[in-house]
């Protein structure tokens, strides 16, 4: 059944359905809180109050800023290094064979192990934290970009060669645009993975950021604050997706009609 069918059958647009589904979630939450009557399940209204309290009087903005900058640093690092190595492995068969085993190893190391080892080896520092996050992401970027490089259309590269456009133009105008869909896939899944791991890194070894605050609230059994912080961070990541990644993707794929 298509969206149009749904529209005609009950007269509700997709947008309304989404709003309704969201309201339903709030109602279920509210009812559960009412039934439970427990300190560990505050109702939405209480969470909203705590949220605004942290926003105005607390350090929510500061913590969000700290965590977001770690997300960005780790994301950029993982994307740049992963893309470069991925392209090289896609282009050079011998390098691919040489590094493939390491890649499989890295892909299968649990995030927690990387984080612990980074902290043990490099100390409880900002560099260790960001490195730990990047290391969890970049094998994935490599695999995606290697796949993309292997799928590059050599017919188009031949055009660049025949018309002698030079190595710089060949790379940026003929080669890299072909990798764009793969970079986008890596970026999307990268953001989603990284911001979750950043919280764990903060919880284990930083003294600020959302992850650190969550551990404090956990020790205080302050569930309303935990939910408020989570809500704030989810909203920020949604904004990142809607305001940055989405429009960028639409612009770059505008020719696909």
């Amino acid at each position: 059944m298509t969206v149009d069918d749904a529209n005609s059958s009950n007269g509700l647009s997709a947008g309304w359905l989404r709003t309704l589904s969201f309201l339903l979630l709030i109602i279920i939450w509210e009812l559960s809180a009412l039934v439970a009557q427990s300190r560990v399940l505050p109702d939405p209204w209480a969470v909203a109050l705590v949220f605004f309290d942290h926003l105005v009087h607390g350090s929510l903005i500061y913590d969000l800023g700290i965590t977001l900058s770690r997300v960005i640093a780790a994301f950029v690092l993982a994307m740049v290094i992963g893309t470069v190595i991925g392209i090289l492995m896609g282009l050079r068969k011998r390098l691919d064979i040489l590094l493939d085993g390491w890649l499989i190893l890295f892909l299968n190391i649990p995030a927690l192990v990387t984080i612990i080892l980074c902290y043990v080896w490099f100390g409880l520092t900002e560099v260790a934290a960001i490195l730990a996050v990047s290391l969890n992401k970049f094998p994935n970027v490599i695999v995606t970009l290697r796949e993309g490089t292997r799928a590059v259309d050599h017919d188009l590269l031949q055009v660049a060669q025949v018309f002698r456009v030079g190595p710089r133009k060949t790379f940026f105008k003929f080669f890299l645009p072909q990798l764009y869909p793969y970079i986008m896939v890596a970026a999307r899944s990268g953001i989603a993975l990284i911001w979750k791991i950043v919280l764990v890194v903060e919880l284990l070894g930083r003294s600020n950021g959302i992850g650190f605050q969550l551990s404090v609230f956990f020790q205080l059994f302050d569930i309303a604050s935990i939910l408020a912080y989570t809500l704030a961070f989810v909203i920020v990541m949604l904004v990142v997706e809607l305001a940055w990644i989405g429009p960028m993707d639409r612009y770059a794929t505008r020719w696909r009609k």
């Binding site: 017919d155 055009v159 018309f163 105008k173 645009p177 764009y180 020719w255 009609k257």
Partner: protein, 266 residues
């Protein structure tokens, strides 16, 4: 533009067969000279190594024993080469205008060379369209504009109009001739269609089945402007085929009917 003829001497071009062992020889002892600003058509059966030959001339394929040199004893690198492939090979993420500009250096691009040629190809209204939105014929016109925009000294064309229907293909053949007459350049045009070759060429070179070499050269004596379907071209074709019947058997499409079918369906 320097005046120089082109000498193509290929001793052997071979492809390694899979699983080691034997190799398949695509071209053997092929000797060919092309004069400056000549329109040369190379006719041969499918799979005889025509594309391979063009790739060697273009310098894409260097795995060959032999040489392509100009009369001043310089390599092909000294010439500005353009290539129109069997498919248009446009960059889908670039607009029509960008697709032509991308092969130009900045100076030439800023002189409006791309727009000028696209205008001649009657694509002025589609400058900012993406290639996927264009018909096959229009995509070919963009590729043709791109090929001429660099002001090539040597233009290579590899059956560029085969997958088009007859009227669209004929329009493009006409456009190609107009461009070539306005901006003379040496042209090597590969085809399996004898009638197309007679319409376009100053001289036709016939290649044998693989391993291919030159089996016949024929200057087209029909004065320009020619028509693609008139008595003169038809007469020339029939005479050619009857004179060299055994030599050209199965090399050049011989019957008018099969030719029409080929062009309509392929």
């Amino acid at each position: 533009m320097s005046t120089s003829s082109l000498r193509i001497e290929i001793d052997e071009k071979a492809y390694p067969m899979s699983a080691g062992g034997d190799k398949r020889i695509a071209i053997k002892d092929l000797r060919l000279t092309v004069s400056d600003s000549e329109f040369l058509c190379i006719v041969g059966p499918s799979g005889c190594g025509k594309t391979t030959l063009l790739n060697i001339i273009a310098g894409i394929d260097n795995d060959v024993s032999g040489a392509v040199t100009t009369s001043n004893h310089e390599g092909i690198e000294s010439m500005r080469v353009s290539y129109m492939f069997q498919t248009p090979r446009l960059l889908p993420w670039m607009t029509v205008r960008e697709n032509v500009r991308v092969v130009l250096d900045e100076e030439t691009a800023n002189m409006g060379k791309a727009e000028e040629l696209l205008h001649q190809m009657e694509l002025s209204d589609s400058l900012d369209e993406f290639p996927n939105r264009l018909s096959g014929g229009m995509q070919r016109r963009v590729a043709l504009a791109r090929a001429f925009a660099t002001q090539p000294q040597l233009l290579l064309l590899d059956e560029p109009f085969v997958s088009l229907d007859l009227p669209v293909g004929n329009l493009l053949r006409q456009l190609l001739l107009e461009l070539w007459q306005a901006r003379p350049t040496t042209v090597i045009f590969v085809t399996h269609d004898l009638r197309e070759a007679i319409y376009l060429a100053d001289r036709i070179v016939f290649l044998s089945r693989g391993p291919s070499k030159v089996i016949l050269e024929k200057t087209v004596t029909i004065p320009r402007p020619r028509k693609i379907e008139d008595a003169a071209t038809d007469h020339f074709r029939r005479e050619l085929l009857s004179q060299h019947d055994s030599l050209l058997h199965g090399i050049a499409s011989s019957s008018l009917d099969t030719l029409d079918n080929n062009m309509a369906t392929s």
